[in-house]
């Protein structure tokens, strides 16, 4: 067969496997890339043909997601997780070490096409970093000996399936369990409860429980379910948001790894309550290693009558769950962007209202809840709302899973009743020398030691679960700069203030961090940050300036010690700007360069 025929055949098979559905476009492109290592223009055109889509649409999707490649990539694609917690664990040194050993530059593919080494946003392994992905599979606890082995494996072209299993081991590290993680749950108990007590009674328990969105937004879960249940629609959908992209959080990974049945049960329960027959798990691409075990769980549930048709023998209780894999786009954690992605499009947040509960997946009523929320809902159906509400505070009932990482002795998952103080958490995880916490990730809040008596709950410090500890050894600005880069990379580009503002903010942070900033620049950052907070289209842009604004308030000394004493310093480097002219004229003599003193003199009147 000719090469182009093989390509056509390969793509045809993959598209058919996905039922030829355009909503599966992202999944199809992932599978095609798995086979071909990258998506060439020809490949994308074939996919478009097979799906009867415009080629430009397919390219638009391919260009949007970080893990889809429209340029050739090595057969081994190594991406170092570049969260601040990975940096604390020395990932930059390891990154350069690996590049040196492999003879490749960061972000580039080796000439023989064998390997590419780059970086990516937090892969959710902060408690067992430095971490990386190789062809999308999670690597943990990297160190030089491990990298030496990887260099050998790559150079010998050893297939990933034959790499040592321990490289891919992901520990759960559950350090503290309360009602969600600690109590036994019998499979099917929540579904039996809804069949016995009717959906109305379960909704009453949900209302009583006071359960709020555990992704961090804190919307009342019962209100979402009721709104969706009452919304007119031909079909209704249940979506589990497992796109856990907030740097520093990994509790959903642990729930999907150790408590998948509880989560699936919560989704099925929701399906029964709102009248949906189809559920989706939107699993972040970084967690693809979980896919086989999750599929096995789903299959087992079908076999024992907890999923599929006539669940638990109840005629008409039909519900099934499909897993969609993301492809490296933090913005898809926003529920309307997630739905767009689920429909096979690029993940740009929708205009709201209307909200997903009335106009969600395929414009039909849809409940989108976080992984932890579904797990809690399943327990509430069995144990009752009052039981859940007996823990927590007035406005924040139940418990919260926290993902602890950074400078502490025992990183991992901690479950606390809402209302726990920051100080208590720090004591439990062995963070003796904390100068500050990045709470709820870069989109959350940076707090200093003066605020360690604050409580974790929606009334005070709301969080999706990320909790990164900075000891006194750390420069807070390293974190701020890392987060500023993160938001530039993850902005979807739809609205002006986020698309442009994140880059402007990164440049200002870099200017001050590298010792070129003045007081004027700090004020500039404040002004820009305030515009972004109110002007951006979605939560990503609205929260992107938080690390800068919080650190200016909480750690002013970290900024001030970097400032120049002048009132103003230009953002451009005059000497560097002359480089092109030097190259054009072939000048490299000392007189072709400007010295610092000359620049200063030139600036004087």
């Amino acid at each position: 067969m000719a090469e182009s025929d093989i390509l056509t055949q390969t793509i045809h098979e993959i598209v058919q496997r996905h039922g030829g559905a355009p909503t599966r476009l992202l999944q199809i492109l992932r599978d095609v890339q798995d086979r071909l290592t990258w998506l060439s223009p020809e490949t994308m055109d074939r996919v478009a043909e097979e799906l009867d889509l415009s080629p430009i649409k397919v390219r638009g999707v391919a260009e949007f997601y970080s893990f889809l490649y429209t340029a050739p990539r090595g057969s081994y694609d190594v991406l170092f997780s570049d969260n601040i917690t990975d940096r604390m664990l020395g990932n930059r040194e390891l990154l350069h070490y690996l590049c040196d050993r492999l003879g490749v530059h960061v972000g580039e593919t080796r000439a023989d096409g064998r390997v590419t080494v780059g970086t990516t946003s937090c892969t959710g392994m902060c408690d067992q970093g430095p971490a990386a992905l190789v062809n999308g599979h999670a690597l943990t606890r990297l160190d030089k000996p491990r990298l030496d082995r990887i260099v050998e494996l790559v150079n010998r072209q050893t297939p990933l399936t034959e790499w040592p299993r321990e490289f891919f081991e992901v520990a759960s590290n559950i350090r503290r369990a309360d009602i969600l993680l600690g109590r036994h749950f019998a499979d099917g108990a929540a579904l039996r409860a809804v069949l016995k007590r009717r959906p109305e009674a379960i909704l009453e328990e949900m209302v009583k429980s006071g359960l709020r969105g555990q992704g961090g937004a804190g919307f009342k879960s019962a209100a979402k379910w009721i709104s969706c249940r009452n919304a007119p629609g031909e079909e209704k959908y249940v979506v589990c948001n497992a796109d856990e992209g907030e740097p520093g959080t990994f509790k959903d990974r642990v729930l999907m790894q150790d408590f998948a049945d509880l989560v699936f049960e919560g989704m099925t329960l929701c399906g029964r309550v709102i009248g949906a027959r189809q559920g989706f798990v939107y699993l972040r691409g970084e967690y693809r290693y979980l896919l086989p075990s999750l599929q096995a769980h789903l299959q087992r549930r079908r076999e024992v009558g907890l999923l599929g048709s006539d669940i638990l023998g109840e005629p008409g209780f039909d519900f099934d769950i499909d897993i969609h894999l993301g492809a490296g786009a933090y913005v898809c954690g926003e529920e309307s962007a997630l739905i767009e992605s689920l429909e096979g499009k690029h993940g740009v947040p929708r205009i709201r209202p209307p909200f997903p509960t009335t106009h969600g997946y395929l414009n039909q009523p849809t409940v989108v809840n976080n992984v932890e929320t579904f797990a809690a809902a399943a327990k509430i159906a069995v144990e009752g709302g009052a039981w859940f509400a007996s823990r927590g505070t007035a406005e924040s009932k139940g418990t919260k899973l926290l993902s602890l990482s950074g400078d502490c002795e025992r990183p991992g998952i901690y479950e606390y009743p809402f209302g726990v103080t920051v100080r208590r958490v720090l004591e439990d995880c062995g963070a003796r020398d904390a100068q500050g916490i990045q709470m709820a990730g870069p989109a959350g809040h940076m707090i200093s030691a003066r605020q360690f008596d604050r409580r974790i709950c929606f009334e005070d410090l709301a969080t999706g679960g990320s909790f990164m500890v900075f000891s006194h050894r750390r420069d807070i600005l390293d974190g701020v700069r890392n987060f500023a880069h993160f938001f530039v990379h993850e902005s979807c580009g739809f609205c002006t203030p986020c698309r442009v503002g994140t880059s402007l903010l990164r440049d200002l942070v870099t200017k001050v961090h590298t010792g070129h900033g003045t007081r004027y620049d700090l004020e500039e950052m404040r002004k820009l940050g305030r515009i972004m907070q109110v002007a951006c289209h979605c939560g990503l842009g609205q929260t992107a300036p938080n690390p800068v604004l919080d650190s200016l308030d909480q750690f002013p000394e970290a900024w001030e010690r970097r400032l120049r004493s002048t009132a103003f310093e230009p953002a451009f480097d005059l000497d560097a700007a002359l480089e092109q002219a030097r190259q054009l004229t072939g000048r490299s003599d000392p007189d072709a360069y400007l010295r610092e003193e000359e620049l200063m003199l030139g600036a004087m009147p």
Binding site: P41, S54, P55, I56, K57, R59, G60, E63, F64, Y65, S66, A329, H346, I351, P353, V488, H489, E490, S491, C492, G493, F494, C495, T496, P497, R499, V500, G501, T502, S503, L504, D507, K527, L528, I531, V534, A535, C536, H537, A571, F572
Partner: protein, 246 residues
């Protein structure tokens, strides 16, 4: 049922009908809310964020906010003017907008809105992106340097012309306008000056070839009256210096 519906905008009562947004109701009442990606002939897009107003104390895009009875809307305030000015400044440094050297100067909505919100300089550090000009089409030229990603040409070509010639690709600051052909050139498409997509650009990104400077500077669309009085370039007839096809 809808006759008595109204909201308050800067102290003025604005009536509205079901389905109207704060923007369309204000427009119908003759009130100007600055905007770029909004065009009354198209569904709201909400991306430029220039039309931000305060609705019951919350900053929201007027084009994407459904009008509701009893809303208190603020439009002309110092705070909003400052936010809008910041957004215009961002657009100016993101691309390469050299007004003195642009054929659209004086009839450019971007420039006119910038003046309207009091922007006299771009303020932020220029990005100076390198974006090639596409002059492959016999009748039109695309200068990507001036594109502000409002997606009006994308929407017009797809929804009105049925040609689907344009799209925005890439993520974040890499987002850019592309032409839907293998070569990426406009010349390889069936784009025509009669297309709606040729008439909706609020900047000088899509220009007509073989004509230029027909109306002298000083007599152009926004040279004598502000955009709040003149209206959008896409709604003014070509003979009067606008873009509306006659």
């Amino acid at each position: 049922m809808s006759e008595d519906q109204s909201f308050m905008l800067d102290g003025r009562r604005v009536p509205f009908q079901d389905g109207q947004t704060v923007m369309t109701a204000a427009l119908a009442a003759g009130i100007y809310i600055p905007h770029l990606c909004f065009n009354p002939e198209f569904a709201p897009h909400g991306s430029c964020r220039v039309c931000l107003v305060k609705v019951n104390g919350r900053v929201q895009a007027a084009c994407a906010t459904p009008a509701a009875s009893g809303q208190i809307v603020q439009n002309e305030t110092g705070e909003l003017r400052e936010i809008r000015r910041g957004i215009l400044q961002m657009l100016f440094v993101e691309g390469n907008h050299v007004c003195p050297a642009c054929e659209k100067s004086g009839a450019c909505q971007l420039q006119a809105v910038a003046y309207y919100v009091g922007m006299l300089a771009p303020h932020y550090t220029h990005f100076y992106p390198r974006r090639p000009v596409d002059a492959s089409h016999p009748e039109a030229v695309i200068d990507f340097n001036r594109c502000i990603l409002c997606e009006l040409c994308v929407r017009a070509s797809r929804d009105v012309d049925g040609k689907n010639i344009f799209a925005v690709q890439g993520r974040g600051i890499q987002a850019h306008l592309v032409v839907n052909t293998t070569s990426g050139k406009l010349g390889a498409t069936d784009f025509s000056l009669a297309d709606k997509a040729a008439q909706v650009c609020p900047t000088g990104a899509i220009l007509t070839k073989h004509r230029g400077y027909e109306i002298p500077i000083g007599q152009r669309l926004y040279d004598r009256k502000p955009i709040s009085v003149v209206g959008d370039v896409a709604t003014v007839a070509e003979s009067k210096g606008g873009r509306r096809h006659e």
